[in-house]
Amino acid sequence: MPAGGTLLPVLALALCAPAARPLIAEVFYDAVGDDTGWEFVELFNPGPRAASLAGLRLEAGDGSGPGRWTLRWTGGSGDSVAAGGRFVVGGAKVEPPPQAVVTLDLQNGPDAVRLVWPEGAVEVVGYGAHEFAEYSCGAPGPDVPAGQSLARVPDDADLGSNALDFRPAAPSPGRANRPARDVALIAGALALAPAQPAPGEPARLAGLVTNRGATPLPAGAVTLTVTAFPPAGERVLLSRPLERALAPGDSAAFDEPLGALDEGKQWLRARVVLDGDEDPANDRDSLLVRCGPGPLELTEIQFHPAAGEGEWVEVRNRSLGPLDLTAFTLSDRGTSRGVPSLGAGALEPESLAVLAQDRDALLAHYPALDPRRVWRVSPWSSLNNSDDTTGNADLVVLREADGTPCEQVAYSAAGVPAGVPLEWRDGGWWPASDPAGTPLSPPRPPPALASRFALGSRRLAVGATGHMAWALPWPRARLTVELYDLAGRRVARPIVEAAVPARGERDWPLGSLAPGIYVVMMRARPESGSGSLSESRALRIEGAAR
């Protein structure tokens, strides 16, 4: 029976949408928040002639039991859909206004809507997992998340089941679900690099563009425009055709140079332009950015506390006026943003404050701190203690409450002795000159040295902790310190090619080094440029013969 075997699927395919009738093209049943006024059902006439909707009944089905269909709207004698046109039945808040304004009160899945034509033809569109077959045509469509609609894609798809014809999409009442020409920016994908450029520093804007239309877009068909809105006024930063062709459904990343931004907080608005774009609403996206330093800066980071005081960071008000710290957030690489609380008063210019993971523990560990300037941040984003493949351990990010970047510090944990915070001094982040940290105080100045390299003590007991200090002629340098015994054999390397500031000091536990005379050799070179220097000192480790 080959003929019948071929015809049956064809007949089944024809069951969902009655022939030569407008069909259900889009159902929006679950808005974000209260649905009232936002719901709509869009009808689409794919035929070559206008279709009357007189007597057409739009019914909603409650999938929790059989036969629960209730009328929502009936077509009047004057209602019709032009050839290739759309007719929207929806709430008062739908934009553009529907042809028929009705409070649909559709249920969230598993439920259904159906069209019942005066002569008895029926089209059912079900969504969600149904128990009763009457609520869908074939397999039901997906139960879409709040804010998205159940859209027929393409608009005249009729493949034999709701699951094949419908998919989640951005609501588009009165417009094609899959227009012929539509390019869109993917919302939330814009990113500035660097995230907070310095004044005069060139920046780049990255993002994603997608072809949501049915027509392939050749290279150069889409133009990307980026406009900045700093306090000084609007400024176009970029207007350039994208050089990549986009097939229907394809997305492409872009990463375009913007040049230097104006200093300060500002919006960046990106727009993609395509001739004949049928949905301009999805062509724009924006990003709140800052060029140059923010009003609050990080001055010390304790990411690996060793005495139970919890993690903490020290911040300084670098603006000219007092700052309300509750208007800022603190975060790491993740998306969770902690908000300060439990401190008191505004932070005066040039003043320091501490943002703490465990305020009580911190105050117990540093009892001399002014509790009014110690703030608990909740939720606290735990800071990583070891570097990843990027060479950084984590990010510490300060933002204003509206998300504007204020300061971002990527720190490396490499070479930082356990329990020692990082502090900002000499133009970089370095292990604190006071190993215990200096919350609410500026960094302790390194000791003045009479030479390039000095040992805290030339005689140490076995197992003691040594101390060394250096003063180099370069602002940043790479430093190596090695120990040799009197026979010239290298026995230890306390510091290996560490990035250090011009002046610094470091504790060094001797560990199991045997008693004897040693030569401590310091070698340094500038981090950029040429030159090097080395100095050595004799060190005696005292102990009994073994």
Binding site: D485, L486, G488, R489, R490, I517, A544, A545
Partner: protein, 288 residues
């Protein structure tokens, strides 16, 4: 004038006087080497380091430093200074008096290393026997921190005073070969010596006026062994030598000259990281 562990070559006097040791003495010396090797702990000392090639030790400083006697009889005086890696606060000055009568060899010396803050003074004594077939000696070094002051009573202080006892043995194996072992710190008490000096064993081969030597120092602590190779050349009153060591790889050269009983020695070793160590010595009696 005779030398123990005689070999032909740069260190041999008279030239070409190679001998084969008697089997009984050879067995005793080999047993001695083995005993020293078994008993050796990690060695420590650097107080009486002369500018001399390891393969041809000579003089009272070497006798105290390594416990290896030579066959030269008579009275000798030797003074030396060492500047370690160019560090001005880490220089050694040493003076030793040695002598030989029949087969008995002895030396006594004093030295001072470093400045008063981290330096120390040392008194050394060595006593041994030497024949053409071989020799052996015991050495004792007592050290005392310079910061303890000059009072003699401070030598009895339990802190800052240390003593070490060790020795060396060498044997002429015939055919120009000479073997030696030196364990300067078999026993140590009190304040630790400035450097661990483990057991060193070596072999030298001499022919005509040239001597080649190889030595190996046992690993100190958990480190690897040290190795040294050298070549010494002799021409009349003049001797030259060059040596190379590992960990890290480095080299040194030395020169010695003698006239009318006065011997001058100098050596420099270049370290790739630490710079140069310079040794100078002046002796009365003996040969270069």
């Amino acid at each position: 004038m005779r030398r123990a562990c005689v070999i032909t070559g740069a260190a041999a006097l008279p030239p070409g006087a190679a001998v084969v040791p008697g089997p009984v003495l050879l067995a005793r010396l080999i047993a001695g080497v083995a005993l020293v090797a078994l008993a050796a702990s990690h060695a420590r000392a650097q107080d009486f380091s002369p500018p001399a090639p390891a393969g041809t030790p000579a003089g009272p400083l070497a006798l105290i430093e390594r416990g290896l006697p030579d066959t030269i009889s008579g009275v000798r005086i030797e003074a030396a200074t060492v500047r370690w890696f160019g560090l001005p606060d880490l220089a050694t000055r040493a003076l030793a008096l040695g002598g030989g009568w029949r087969t008995v060899r002895g030396a006594v010396g004093i030295s001072q290393t470093g400045d008063p803050e981290l330096g120390w003074s040392a008194f050394g004594l060595a006593l041994g026997v030497a024949e053409r077939e071989g020799g052996a000696a015991l050495r004792v070094v007592v050290r005392r921190d310079r910061r303890l002051g000059p009072a003699l009573g401070s030598w009895r202080s339990s802190s800052g005073v240390g003593v070490e006892v060790g020795g060396g043995v060498c044997v002429a194996a015939g055919a120009g070969l000479r073997l030696w072992a030196s364990a300067p710190q078999v026993w140590a008490r009190g304040e630790s010596p400035p450097l661990e000096r483990p057991l060193e064993i070596g072999v030298a081969y001499g022919a005509h006026d040239a001597t080649l030597w190889l030595s190996r120092g046992a690993p100190a602590s958990d480190a690897a062994a040290d190795h040294e190779a050298g070549l010494a050349l002799r021409s009349g009153p003049l001797a030259l030598w060059a040596a190379a060591r590992d960990r890290p790889l480095r080299g040194g050269i030395g020169v010695a000259a003698g006239a009318r009983g006065l011997v001058v020695r100098a050596a420099v070793e270049s370290h790739p990281a630490l710079g140069e160590t310079v040794r100078l010595a002046l002796g009365l009696g003996g040969a270069p």
